[in-house]
């Protein structure tokens, strides 16, 4: 069953690439456009992902479980949320970088509500992005957005964590 699903996925990916290559060969415009989209986004990711995963690797090796537990774990209180939002502010990329980082944080003993806050906060308050945003939309715009969204992210993360813990949620093992 599992192998079958895998085969279908591989087949779909193959069809996609044959379609893109074919489009370039015969000059089919929509296919070429999709191919260009794919290339430009892949390059974007290639610039980010190796660094992001090296940092994750270093984090896993060097940061002690006890210190993550102490600052971001069950008894971390308000400080845990402040730390994690500051950490989220320095995250690069988008959600797709935040997920593996969040997963590592969880494995090291960060509590679920802090992990979800990290995901939300790294979506909305990355510092370089916010500065860029305010240069186009104005500082007032960015400030209102942050002031409204951060508390909502924290509250909804606490709610989601409680909800899941009451149902014995198990995070994916080793992704």
């Amino acid at each position: 069953m599992k192998i079958k699903k895998k085969h279908i996925n591989v087949l779909a990916v193959l069809i996609y690439f044959v379609f893109i290559l074919g489009s370039f060969a015969i000059g089919f415009k929509p296919g070429k456009q999709i191919g260009h989209n794919f290339m430009s986004f892949s390059l974007e990711m290639l610039k980010l992902l190796p660094c992001a995963f090296i940092l994750i690797g270093l984090f896993e090796v060097w940061v002690k479980k006890e210190s993550v537990e102490k600052h971001l774990g069950k008894n971390s209180g308000v400080k845990g949320y402040i730390w994690i939002i500051l950490l989220a502010g320095t995250t690069v990329g988008g959600l797709y970088v935040a997920f593996p980082v969040a997963y590592s944080l969880f494995k090291k003993g960060a509590k679920l509500s802090v992990v979800f806050t990290y995901i939300g906060a790294s979506a909305i308050c990355r510092i370089p992005m916010t500065i860029f945003e305010s240069s186009f939309m104005g500082v007032k715009f960015s400030l209102i957005r942050l002031i409204v969204s951060i508390p909502l992210v924290i509250l909804s993360s606490i709610w989601l964590a409680n909800y899941l813990e009451n149902r014995n949620y198990k995070i994916m093992a080793g992704n």
Partner: protein, 160 residues
Amino acid sequence: MNYLYITTGLALLISVIADRNKTLTAIKISCKKLVKILPAFLTMLILVSIVLFLIPDKVISNYLGNNNKFTGIILASLFGSVTLMPGFIAFPLCGILLKKGVGYMVLSAFTTTLMMVGILSYPIEKKYFGIKVTIIRNLISFFIALIVALSIGLFYGELL
């Protein structure tokens, strides 16, 4: 982007000086984790390339510009949810739309869902956190984005 390279480089350097073996283990962990998640990234990239073809910037600006504000918010948040684009494309686009007369409220619905709701990154999120959490988190994020948009509308006097 550069500060990522500088941080990574410095972190690696310090790590190597402190303990070579540990650094090697770290690199091995990095590679293993990256390789494991790459198929999900490939799926996401394929989806992104197709969706951005179906919904290019032009379509987004046409729809956001030519509607009343409430249809505008709904459309903007749907576009923001189903697309994925880096900030250096999204914010200049919003800057242009702003000059064209699209309201702050509609644009904030677009940028906030763009940042928080990831339908295209679903394959990756699912791998780490499971289907259920992925769906709930994205739904919550969608509503947070709507609240943000309404607040922006309130502060900019666009709501009433």
